[in-house]
Amino acid sequence: MIFDITILPGFDKNGCKEQYTYIKLKAGDTVSIVGPTGSGKTALISDIELLAQGDTSTKRRIFVNGEVPSDEIRFNPAMKPIVMITQNTKCFADLTTEEFLQIHARARKIYDKQVIQKTIDLANNFTGEKIKKDTRVTVLSGGQTRSLLIADAIMVGASPIILLDEIENAGIFKQEVVNLIHKAGKMVVFVTHDPVIALLTKTRIIMENGAVKKVLYQNEPEIRAAQSLLELDKKIGTIREELRAGKSITFDLPAVNYA
């Protein structure tokens, strides 16, 4: 069982060592990784996903429960304590959704047969157009693919650590995903440009030039700011769904004034 992971410093894009001794993330933690594009956010979660041992471009090392993880944990998907939702919005495997999930369940040694249908049902909570079990994964839209991969990560991956790379870009029901993951009591790491997600997490890692620049912890005003942004985000979400459904806006929207 995973209790914590420790990130040991690597090097930035200029080859300078990162300025921290270690970063420890514990079970139940919610973490966001923020910073400009190209600052190394995806590289950082990839290091975590690969449980890097100085053998990635950043030269970071990742410990599990204070120790170097065994090869079995690093390389056997059935033992891997980490699932990652990447920014990929495409599947290349020429398989139906059902076959894809069946093979993945075998890889993860999940033997509950109902998990396949449950995963598809969950994915359909996140996406507008429904996915059927005989739909080939190669023809799923970007949003459908990501919804399926998120549902797969939760149901089939079923790991104590979830890494999510810019889930806000997917055109899917972000709120539903965030709520579900929060409830699961897992360690969740978001790479994000979304202020709502960034403010909702307890820990914020700020990236620059390939390196961790600083680590911040959620403060009281931020918790309140997150709540009000969440309300605003829901309103925007409602309007988005109205527009998607082909409706017109027939009332005045409240003016927003943050001055």
């Binding site: 690969l50 890097a52 990635t56 990652m84 939702i85 495409k90 290349f92 993945h104 075998r106 990560a153």
Partner: protein, 236 residues
Amino acid sequence: MKLVIIAGPPSAGKTSLAKQIVKRFKDELTIAFLKIDVVKAFEDLELKKEFGILTKKFYSGDLCPDHAGVMVLGDAVEWGQKNAAELLIVESAGLCLRCSPYLNQGLGIIVLSSISGIHAPEKMGAMVSLADIAVITKIDLVSQAEREVLIQKIKEVHTRIILMETNALQGNSLNRLYDLIIKSRDIDRDKLMLKGNPPLGTCTICVGKKEVGWKHHFGVVQKLDGQIAEYLYRGE
């Protein structure tokens, strides 16, 4: 001298992997690199320029590149040893999937791209099944779930192969491969053997005759609707 043979379809990342191996060992071992290809190859020049190691290329021309590989590998081993190489890396052309260039000694590595399709490992036959190690490249282009689906599929078809995943441009997570290379035994030049059976024979088409129709050809060829047992064809 240690021997590493890299095979795999075009654009899978064979050369990128070779570069990572060279980068890792160039300060420890004297490395020689041979590229076998059909009409054009630049890999020897690239590696020589980037790492200053001993390189060579060989064009198979009209001959099947794997067939050519079998013929020249003996010379290549001699060339490596004459130049005091401690590690010989041979990169195959990776075209036809009928046979495999791996030997009974050294390491045979199949390089497969994550986006080459879920059925590729099965279709590629001996090139995958006789390899010691499968290196899956371009993992940054697909989701973690899809990577795991591909790995599972390969494992189910080739239970004993050692699987590893990388982004060969960056060389992520290759420590395991380096470890296997450094622990691999030196080869014995007089006992080198192909691991798999080559195709049953070569014919006049294999050696470059362009004419169409039976009367121009002889050798081990099969008629479109001919019986399997009659494939020894003597020409018309």
